[in-house]
C-alpha cells in the first residue's frame, strides 16, 4: 500500500516544523514561533485575498504552535472560512482547528454550526463524517441544540452510507452524554435497536455503544435489544476463525464487538425467554470451552483478544449470579490464570476472582486458591498485582480461614509498600474484628498492627479496639495485661501509648494484683512515655492519670506531684494546662464519692457499623459506596471519640468555664458519644417543646407570661436590637462560639455544635449587675411565614431558671433540628425584671443554613464534574463584592473552614482561588453545595460563586457569605 511521505502536501509546514525541532533552546523556539506568528498575522491581514491552500497551511501552522503549548488568539475566522471550502483537505484542517481549539465565542459558534449544517445536508459522505466528527469532538450544548434532532434521522435513514451511520451513532452518544434532555429517541428507538442486526459489523460496533448507554438510562424502552444481542453474539461465537474476514483479529472473530455485546447484556437481568437464555448460556459455555483449546497463534494479540472476551463473559456470569455451574467453571479458569506467566492475566484473574468470592455459589471454589494468592502477595513484582492479591484475600476471608489470612497479611505488612499499608491495616483490623472467635486474638492482632505499622494505624482503628474492649468485659483483663506488656518495649509507637493509656486508665485495676504490674508500676510505665508524646496523647495520658487517682488512691500523692509541676500546670499548651489545673483541683477538693462518679468506668458504646469499615469504603472511593454512606462514615469516625467535644459530664469540672471547648480526643469526653436526641436522659422528663406550649400563632408570647409583665412598657426597643442583631448574626456564620450579645446588664454567651441535621446550642446568660433579675423567661420562635413544621424545631431541654442572681450565670440548652432549608434565623426573646423595669429584648439566634454542612472531600476531577452537573442558571448564585475584611490567606482559610465545608486544595487551577464542597443535611434531603471564591488582591474585590442542588440554598449561602469576607 502506498505510504504517506513525510510532511507531504504542505512544504511550508514541514519546513516550519523542522525549524522548530532544530531550535537549540527554548528562547530560540519562542523567537522562531513569534516570527512565524507575525508572518501569519500579516498574511491574514494583507489586502491580497489568500487562496485556500495558503489559508490551510497557515491555520495548520497555528494549530501546531498551539499544540506546542502556546496561546493562539487569532486565526479562528480563517479556520471557519476553511469549513466552507469544497476541498476535503482544507475542510479537514478547518474542522481540526475548531475541534482542538474550541471556543465558546458565540459569534463563531453560529458560523460553525452553519457550516456543519451545510455539510450534513451535502449528501457527500466524507463531508458528513467530518461534520459529525466535529460535533462529536466538541459536543457543546449549542451544537446539541442545533443538531440533536437531525442526527437520529441520518442514523436510521435507508440511504445513509455505513461509515456515516457509524459516525452518526457515536455523535449522538456524545450529545446524549452532554445534553440528555435534548436527545429524544422516542420514535427512533426501535430502529436504533435494530442496528444490532445491521450487516455491516462496523455499524453494529458503533451503534452498540449508543444502545448500551441509552439502555442504562431507559432499560424498559430498549429491552428488545437483549434477544438481538444474544443472537448476534451467538453468530459471532459460533463462527469459524476466518468467517468474519475483516473483523477477525489474530484468529479471533470480532473480539471488540463480542465484548461490547456482553457488556450490553450486563445492563439487564438474565433473559426471561427460555430459548434466548438457553442460547446465551450456550454462548458462554462456548467461550469458556475455547479458553481450554490450544491457541491458534502464539502471538500475545491472539490470547489477549480471546481473553478479553473471556473476562467479559465472566463479568456477565458474575452479574447474573444465578448459574452455579458457570460460576464454578469461571472460577476454575481464573484459577489457571493465577499461575500464568503473563502478569496481565494474573492481575486480571485476581481482580475478577474478587467479585466471584462474594457469590455464594463460587465462594468455596475461590477459597481453594488461597495458597496461590498468599504466594502472589509475597512474590509478585508489581505492587498493583500484590494489591489485588490482598484485595482477594480480604474478599475470600471467612471464619474458616480468618486466622491464616490475618496472619499472612500481618506478616506481609512488615515489608509492604508504603502506598498500600494504610489500606492493609484497615483490612486486617476489619477482618480481625469480624471473625474474632475469641477477643484475646482480636486484641493481639490489633496491638500487633500498631507494633508493625503504627504510623499507618489511623484513629478509627485504635478507637475501635477501645470501643470493643469497653463493650466486652471478658477481654478487659487480657487487654490490660497485653497492653501493659507491649508498653514495656523500649521504643513503642505513640498509638500504643494512646491505647495503653486509655485501657490502663479504665481497667488497670484488673492487673493491679500482680506486684509486677502494681498501680505505681503502671503509672511509672505510662509516665515514662509522656515526654516523647504529642500534645493530644499527653492530654489523654493526663486523663488516664486522674482516672488512676480514682482507681488507686495510693497513687494520688505521686500523681498530684506530677500534675503540680510547672511543666504541667504552666504548660504553654492551653489544653494541657487546663487539664492539669482542673484535675489537680478535682483530686484535691472532690470527695471520694464525687470522684468515683465523675471518673466512673466508661459505659458501653452503642453498637453500630464499624467505623473502620466506613473508612475503608471511603478510601475505596465514591465508586464503592454511595455518598450518604460516606457521610455516615465521617460522622461515626468523629462520634466514636465523643464527638471530639468535651461532654456535659465534664461541665462538672469546669462549671463556669463555658468558653473553652476542647477539640482534642479525650477519655472523659467519650461520655457524650450517646446520640444527641437521647443525650439529656436525666432531664428527659423536663423536655419542653417551646412551640407546643406557646403555639406557632403567637410565638413571641412568653411561656410563663403572667399578664402583669406584658402590660408594662418595654424599657428597651426590641426593633433597634433586632437590626443590630443582624450584624451579630453575620458574626457567627463562620464560628460557633462567642459572645452573642452584651449590654450593661446582660451578657449572652453562646456555644454550639452541629452534626448532620442536628444541632445543640448552649446559651449562657450572665447577670453583669449585682442585682437579681426576676421573672426571667426566654422564648424561641421561628418568624414569619417560616412555620416551625417546615423550618426547624428548636426545643429547650428545660426552661431557664426564673431568677438570675447578681453576678451569676445560668445556662440553657436548645436542641435544633433542621427539617428543610431556610433563610430566616430563629428569634430569641428575653424578658426579665431588673429593679422595677421590664426588660424585653429580641435577638436573632445565629442558626444559619451552613451550620448543617458536612464537609465533602473530592478530587479536582470530581469537583469539576459536579460543578458542570450543577450548571442550570438558577442553581448558581454569584456575587462580586468589595473586601470588608483582611484578605490574608490564613484568615480566609479559617473562615472557609468555619463555614463547615471542606476546603479543597489543588482543585482550582488558579492557586489564588478557594474552592469548597459540602453537603447540607436537612431532615428531608441533602443539598450538595460547591463554592468558589476568587479574590482579587489588587482591586480588593471578591467574586463568590455558589452552585447547589437546590436553588434557594445557593441564594441564601451567597447572601450570607458575601458579608463574611
Amino acid at each position: 500500500m502506498p505510504a504517506v511521505s513525510k510532511g507531504d502536501g504542505m512544504r511550508g509546514l514541514a519546513v516550519f516544523i523542522s525549524d522548530i525541532r532544530n531550535c537549540k533552546s527554548k528562547e530560540a523556539e519562542i523567537k522562531r514561533i513569534n516570527k512565524e506568528l507575525a508572518n501569519i498575522r500579516s498574511k491574514f491581514k494583507g489586502d491580497k485575498a489568500l487562496d485556500g491552500y495558503s489559508k490551510k497551511k497557515y491555520v495548520c501552522k497555528l494549530l501546531f504552535i498551539f499544540l506546542l503549548g502556546h496561546d493562539i488568539d487569532f486565526g479562528h475566522m480563517e479556520a471557519v472560512n476553511l469549513l466552507s471550502s469544497n476541498k476535503y483537505t482544507e475542510k479537514q484542517i478547518g474542522y481540526l482547528f475548531i475541534s482542538v481549539l474550541v471556543n465558546s465565542n458565540s459569534e463563531l459558534i453560529r458560523l460553525i454550526n452553519n457550516a456543519i449544517k451545510n455539510d450534513l445536508s451535502s449528501r457527500n459522505p466524507t463531508f458528513m463524517c467530518l461534520a459529525l466528527h466535529c460535533i462529536a469532538n466538541v459536543g457543546s450544548r449549542e451544537m446539541a441544540e442545533a443538531f440533536a434532532s437531525e442526527i437520529p434521522r441520518i442514523l436510521v435513514a435507508g440511504d445513509t452510507m455505513d461509515s456515516v451511520k457509524q459516525s452518526a451513532a457515536l455523535c449522538l452518544l456524545r450529545l446524549y452524554k452532554t445534553s440528555p434532555d435534548l436527545v429524544l429517541m422516542g420514535e427512533w428507538t426501535s430502529r436504533v435497536v435494530h442496528l444490532l442486526n445491521d450487516q455491516h459489523m462496523g455499524v453494529v460496533t458503533a451503534a452498540i455503544s449508543l444502545i448500551t448507554c441509552l439502555s442504562q438510562k431507559n432499560p424498559d424502552e430498549f429491552k428488545t435489544c437483549v434477544s438481538l444481542a444474544v443472537s448476534r453474539l451467538s453468530r459471532i461465537v459460533s463462527s469459524a476463525s476466518t468467517d468474519l474476514q475483516d473483523y477477525t483479529y489474530y484468529f479471533v472473530p470480532a473480539p471488540w464487538l463480542s465484548c461490547k455485546l456482553l457488556r450490553l447484556l450486563q445492563c439487564y437481568p438474565p433473559p426471561e425467554d427460555g430459548a434466548v437464555k438457553g442460547r446465551l448460556v450456550e454462548c458462554l459455555e462456548t467461550i469458556l470451552n475455547k479458553a481450554q483449546e490450544p491457541p491458534k497463534s502464539k502471538k500475545v494479540q491472539h490470547s489477549n483478544a480471546k481473553n478479553a472476551i473471556l473476562f467479559e463473559a465472566i463479568s456477565l456470569i458474575i452479574h447474573y449470579d444465578s448459574e452455579p455451574n458457570l460460576l464454578v467453571r469461571a472460577c476454575n479458569q481464573l484459577g489457571q490464570f493465577l499461575q500464568h506467566r503473563e502478569t496481565n492475566l494474573r492481575y486480571l484473574a485476581l481482580e475478577s476472582m474478587c467479585t466471584l468470592a462474594s457469590s455464594e455459589f463460587s465462594h468455596e471454589a475461590v477459597k481453594t486458591h488461597i495458597e496461590t494468592v498468599i504466594n502472589a502477595l509475597k512474590t509478585e513484582r508489581d505492587v498493583s498485582v500484590r494489591q489485588r492479591a490482598a484485595d482477594l484475600l480480604y474478599a475470600m476471608c471467612d471464619r474458616s480461614n480468618a486466622k491464616q489470612i490475618v496472619a499472612e497479611m500481618l506478616s506481609y505488612l512488615e515489608t509492604a509498600d508504603y502506598s498500600i499499608r494504610e489500606e492493609m491495616v484497615l483490612k486486617v483490623a476489619i477482618l480481625a474484628e469480624k471473625y474474632a472467635v475469641d477477643y484475646s486474638w482480636y486484641v493481639d492482632t490489633i496491638l500487633n498492627l500498631i507494633r508493625i505499622a503504627g504510623d499507618y494505624v489511623s484513629e478509627e482503628v485504635w478507637y475501635r479496639v477501645i470501643q470493643i474492649v469497653i463493650n466486652r468485659d471478658d477481654v478487659q483483663g487480657y487487654a490490660a495485661k497485653t497492653v501493659f506488656e507491649a508498653l514495656q518495649a523500649p521504643a513503642c509507637h505513640e498509638n500504643m501509648v494512646k491505647v495503653g493509656g486509655y485501657i490502663l486508665g479504665e481497667f488497670g485495676n484488673l492487673i493491679a494484683g500482680d506486684p509486677r504490674s502494681s498501680p505505681l508500676v503502671q503509672f511509672n510505665l505510662l509516665h515514662s512515655k509522656f515526654h516523647l508524646c504529642s500534645v493530644p496523647t499527653r492530654a489523654l495520658l493526663l486523663s488516664a492519670y486522674i482516672k488512676f487517682i480514682n482507681l488507686f488512691p495510693e497513687t494520688k500523692a505521686t500523681i498530684q506531684e506530677v500534675l503540680r509541676c510547672d511543666s504541667q500546670i504552666r504548660n504553654s499548651d492551653v489544653e494541657l494546662q487546663q487539664r492539669a489545673v482542673e484535675y489537680l483541683k478535682l483530686s484535691s477538693i472532690a470527695s471520694t464519692d464525687v470522684l468515683a462518679t465523675v471518673l466512673e468506668e466508661m459505659p458501653p458504646f452503642p453498637e453500630r457499623e464499624s467505623s473502620i469499615l466506613a473508612k475503608l469504603k471511603k478510601k475505596k472511593g465514591p465508586g464503592a459506596v454511595s455518598v450518604p454512606d460516606l457521610e455516615d462514615g465521617k460522622r461515626e469516625g468523629g462520634e466514636l471519640n465523643g464527638g471530639g467535644e468535651r461532654g456535659p459530664d465534664s461541665a462538672a469540672m469546669s462549671a463556669s468555664n463555658a468558653s473553652t471547648p476542647s477539640p482534642s480526643a479525650d477519655l472523659l469526653g467519650m461520655r457524650s458519644a450517646a446520640p444527641m436526641s437521647a443525650a439529656p436522659t436525666s432531664a428527659g422528663s423536663l423536655l419542653v417543646d417551646v412551640f407546643s406550649e406557646a403555639g406557632p400563632a403567637a410565638p413571641s408570647a412568653a411561656v410563663n407570661d403572667d399578664g402583669f409583665l406584658s402590660s408594662a412598657p418595654p424599657s428597651e426597643d426590641p426593633a433597634t436590637l433586632l437590626s443590630e442583631a443582624d450584624e451579630l448574626l453575620n458574626k457567627f456564620v463562620c464560628k460557633n462560639n462567642g459572645v452573642l450579645f452584651e449590654n450593661q446588664l446582660l451578657q449572652i454567651g453562646i456555644k454550639s455544635e452541629y452534626r448532620q441535621n442536628l444541632g445543640r446550642m448552649y446559651l449562657f446568660y450572665g447577670n453583669k449587675t449585682s442585682v437579681q433579675f426576676a421573672s426571667f423567661t426566654t422564648t424561641v420562635s421561628c418568624p414569619g411565614e417560616l412555620q416551625s413544621h417546615i423550618l426547624s424545631i428548636l426545643r429547650a431541654t428545660k426552661p431557664v431558671e426564673p431568677v438570675v442572681e447578681g453576678g451569676a450565670q445560668i445556662q440553657q440548652v436548645l436542641n435544633i433540628e433542621c427539617l428543610t432549608d431556610f433563610s430566616e434565623a430563629p428569634l430569641l426573646n428575653i424578658k426579665f425584671r431588673y429593679g422595677g423595669a421590664l426588660q424585653n429584648l429580641s435577638l436573632k439566634l445565629p442558626v444559619t443554613i451552613n451550620k448543617f454542612f458536612q464537609p465533602t472531600e473530592m478530587t479536582s476531577h470530581d469537583f469539576f464534574q459536579r460543578w458542570k452537573q450543577l450548571s442550570q442558571p438558577q442553581q448558581e448564585a454569584q456575587k462580586i463584592f468589595k473586601a470588608n475584611h483582611s484578605m490574608d490567606t490564613e484568615v480566609l482559610k479559617a473562615k472557609l473552614l468555619g463555614l463547615g465545608t471542606a476546603l479543597l486544595d489543588d482543585v482550582d487551577p488558579n492557586p489564588e482561588n478557594y474552592v469548597c464542597a459540602g453537603v447540607i443535611q436537612t431532615k428531608g434531603q441533602q443539598v450538595g453545595c460547591l463554592l468558589r471564591l476568587e479574590p482579587n488582591g489588587q482591586a480588593q474585590m471578591y467574586r463568590l460563586t455558589l452552585r447547589c442542588s437546590k436553588d434557594s440554598v445557593s441564594l441564601r449561602l451567597c447572601e450570607l457569605l458575601a458579608q463574611q469576607f
Partner: protein
C-alpha cells in the same frame, strides 16, 4: 469509555493528545505530566494497567513511544490493550513503518486516523482493512 488518548515519548513530549471529556488547559497539562510519571517508571514485567485517579490507564510501549488510553475502572483492560495495538498496526501500515517523526510531521493526519477508529470515547471501527481503505480514499482527495 475512553476519557483521553495520549501518545508520549520517553522524555514526556506529547505526540498526540485526544480528549473525550472537557478539561481546561491547565488540567490537561497536569494529566499529561501525571500519566508520564506513572507510566515511565514501570518495567516490562509489570502489567499494562495502572490505576489513575478514579480511572485507569491502559498503556503499551512501542520503541520510545507510550500509547496510553484512560478508561473507567470497570472497562475491559484487554480489549483496550488490543485496541491500542490495532491502532498502532493501522498507523504502521498507513505511514509505512511508522516512526515518531511521522507523528510529528503529520500530526493533522494522525487525528484523522484516530477519528476513524475512536469517536466520542468509544471504539468506532476495528477492521484494519476498512480503516485503511477509507484513509487511502481520503488521501486521494484534494
Amino acid at each position: 469509555w475512553i476519557r483521553f488518548i495520549l501518545i508520549q515519548n520517553r522524555a514526556g513530549k506529547t505526540r498526540l493528545a485526544k480528549w473525550y471529556m472537557q478539561f481546561d488547559d491547565d488540567e490537561k497539562q497536569k494529566l499529561i505530566e501525571e500519566v508520564h510519571a506513572v507510566v515511565t517508571v514501570r518495567d516490562a514485567k509489570h502489567t499494562n494497567f495502572v490505576e489513575f485517579r478514579n480511572f485507569k490507564i491502559i498503556y503499551r510501549r512501542y520503541a520510545g513511544l507510550y500509547f496510553c488510553i484512560c478508561v473507567d475502572v470497570t472497562d475491559n483492560n484487554l480489549a483496550y490493550l488490543e485496541g491500542i495495538h490495532n491502532f498502532v498496526e493501522v498507523l504502521n501500515e498507513y505511514f509505512h513503518n511508522v516512526c515518531e517523526l511521522d507523528l510529528v510531521f503529520n500530526f493533522y493526519k494522525v487525528y484523522t486516523v484516530v477519528d476513524e477508529m475512536f469517536l466520542a470515547g468509544e471504539i468506532r471501527e476495528t477492521s484494519q482493512t476498512k480503516v485503511l481503505k477509507q484513509l487511502l480514499m481520503l488521501q486521494s482527495l484534494e
